[in-house]
Symmetry: C2
Subunit: 311 residues, 2 copies
DNA sequence: GCTATCGATAGCATTAACCAATCAATCTTC
DNA sequence: GAAGATTGATTGGTTAATGCTATCGATAGC
């Protein structure tokens, strides 16, 4: 049984005339006769009664076949329609993973931008660790992710988006406030608040300031397992210690302004490179590109955006 | 788009593996790859995401296509099933036309016989004149008919079933009752009751007894337009006149036995040949044959059945 | 770095689908 | 009733499609 044969059956049932049906199908009459006969042989039933006279009539079996055939073609059209919709890379949800230390500072700007650039592509967001997101991306459980470490996984591609310098956050009355810029060494004696293990930002801070690493092993730096940068920031504001924040985490907060002082690093400030990553085989390249454009269109203030030319 | 392609899509969606899907479809793997690619090109959408690793995943578009495809195959199976049922000539209703002067005397026996021989083929009956039934048969509004005149229409076939002699019906106290058999001439002086024009039996009686024909034109024979043999029989029983009946109309009536006397014709009695007719193109030969067998299996008493050998 | 696995590609053989021409049966018309 | 017109079935040959074998490129795991 073939869709073509069913199409011919519908035409003959409609026209009640092999010649006209053939014309309607843009084929020659023998083609139609043979096709109908083939289907009749396969089903073992006569579908049409060829009377000698002008008109042919449809047998009850033919009626039923024609009825089901028309329902089949409704579904076929449904397939074509839904394919036409899905054709657009920017339609249908995009599952986006974002690491904990980016999400709260980027998404409030990114989401309106995406609504503007791709209004028919809702974002299904997930916040998690780099490692977890990478696994989910490889398994196809998410479609793209925003992370801050180089991606070197087989089957994955990535593009850098922006380079984000780190800053030091001090309580309002801290001695270091007197300096316009601090160095890694300045922090050695301080009580440093760090994210728990698993957060890549923790590792990046420790790598940028080796002295902290020593402090951490010596028990001076206070690690807050599974906590968030926001929690740490509030603790700094309350005077518990100092910390290092990515610059996007230092904007948009007004309540702390009186209690929190920010200072840049002196000379070659440490930074992290935020990238977007996706499966090489992901079939919606425009969705990725649009997401990238949306991030770059976002006003992130202190960051150094990677423009397309720098790719 | 092809049913084969959709079958392949379903297999890949189910197995999530081109090789296994090809095996399940009894084709080689390249066949499947090419077919899927062809459908993807036609729809303009990727249906599957071929990751480098072992498993492939189904895109949202692929999910929808697979879902609709499985519904399509349900309908295809439905076509095959209903065709398998319709394959049996003896299933589904048979539209049977019977002339007025046969129906009441044959159907009470024929219907139980048909219920026995073809329990899944209900009879949709219509009583009408030979002419009307012939037209309806040619137009396909009925499938077969039982008539008493030779069928010589293009596109129609017929077979004789039985030869039915005529008998004379007399009121209980009629003088002709004394004779064991009557002749056509005996009826010349009688008040003859005849069916109205249009009934073939009227014409057959007039042809068998030319003297009646003369009487009819002379006003002696009483024509009862559009009436029935039953009405005429009751009038004979009440003494209005005499009539000629086909022998099947003279059985099974007990109420009239005291009031009605039947006499056969003497020498070469007139008769009518009852036949079954159908369209040459009617696609259920077994239905016709079964109907013929059912008529022949009926106990019609006085008739001379035409056995298959006499065809 | 080597091997195994998976899907894509190329080349070739087979099948089918299709058309033009013709045929057989029937209906219509003169 | 014979000639012409109409209709679906049949035939022969061409083209497109489908399928298979062999091979390739990419990837993952040892």
């Amino acid at each position: 049984m073939t869709l073509t044969e069913l199409k011919y059956v519908l035409a003959v049932a409609r026209e009640r005339h092999f010649g006209r049906a053939a014309e309607a199908c843009y084929v020659a009459q023998p083609t139609l006769s043979v096709a109908i006969k083939k289907l009749e042989d396969e089903l073992g039933v006569m579908l049409f009664e060829r009377g000698g006279g002008g008109e042919i009539s449809v047998t009850p079996a033919g009626e039923r076949v024609a009825e089901q055939a028309s329902r089949i073609f409704e579904l076929v059209d449904g397939i074509k329609d839904s394919a036409a919709v899905a054709k657009d890379d920017l339609s249908g949800p995009l599952r986006l993973g974002v690491i904990y230390t980016i999400a709260p500072y980027l998404l409030p700007w990114l989401i309106p931008e995406m609504n503007k650039l791709a209004p028919h592509m809702p974002l299904m967001l997930e916040e998690n660790y780099t490692k977890v997101l990478t696994e989910k991306l490889k398994k196809g459980e998410i479609d793209a992710m925003l992370i801050a470490t180089p991606v070197e996984e087989p089957g994955l591609l990535s593009l850098p988006l922006y380079d984000e310098p780190f800053q030091v956050a001090l309580p309002a009355a801290h001695p270091l406030r007197k300096k316009k810029a601090v160095t890694s060494a300045d922090l050695e004696a301080e009580n440093i608040l760090l994210l728990g293990t698993g957060h890549c930002f923790r590792d990046q801070v420790l790598q940028a300031c080796p002295c902290l690493n020593r402090a951490a092993s010596g028990g001076l730096a206070k690690t807050l397992e599974s906590s968030s940068l926001e929690t740490i920031r509030h603790m700094v504001a309350s005077g518990v210690g100092v910390t290092v924040l990515p610059c996007t985490a230092t904007r948009m907060h007004y309540v702390d302004d009186d209690l929190l002082t920010l200072r840049p690093f002196k000379d070659a400030p440490p930074s992290r490179l935020v990238s977007i990553a996706w499966r090489k085989s992901f079939p919606r390249p425009k969705a990725i590109e649009t997401l990238r454009q949306a991030v770059l269109a976002t006003d992130l203030g202190c960051v150094a955006k990677v423009t397309p030319g720098q790719r």
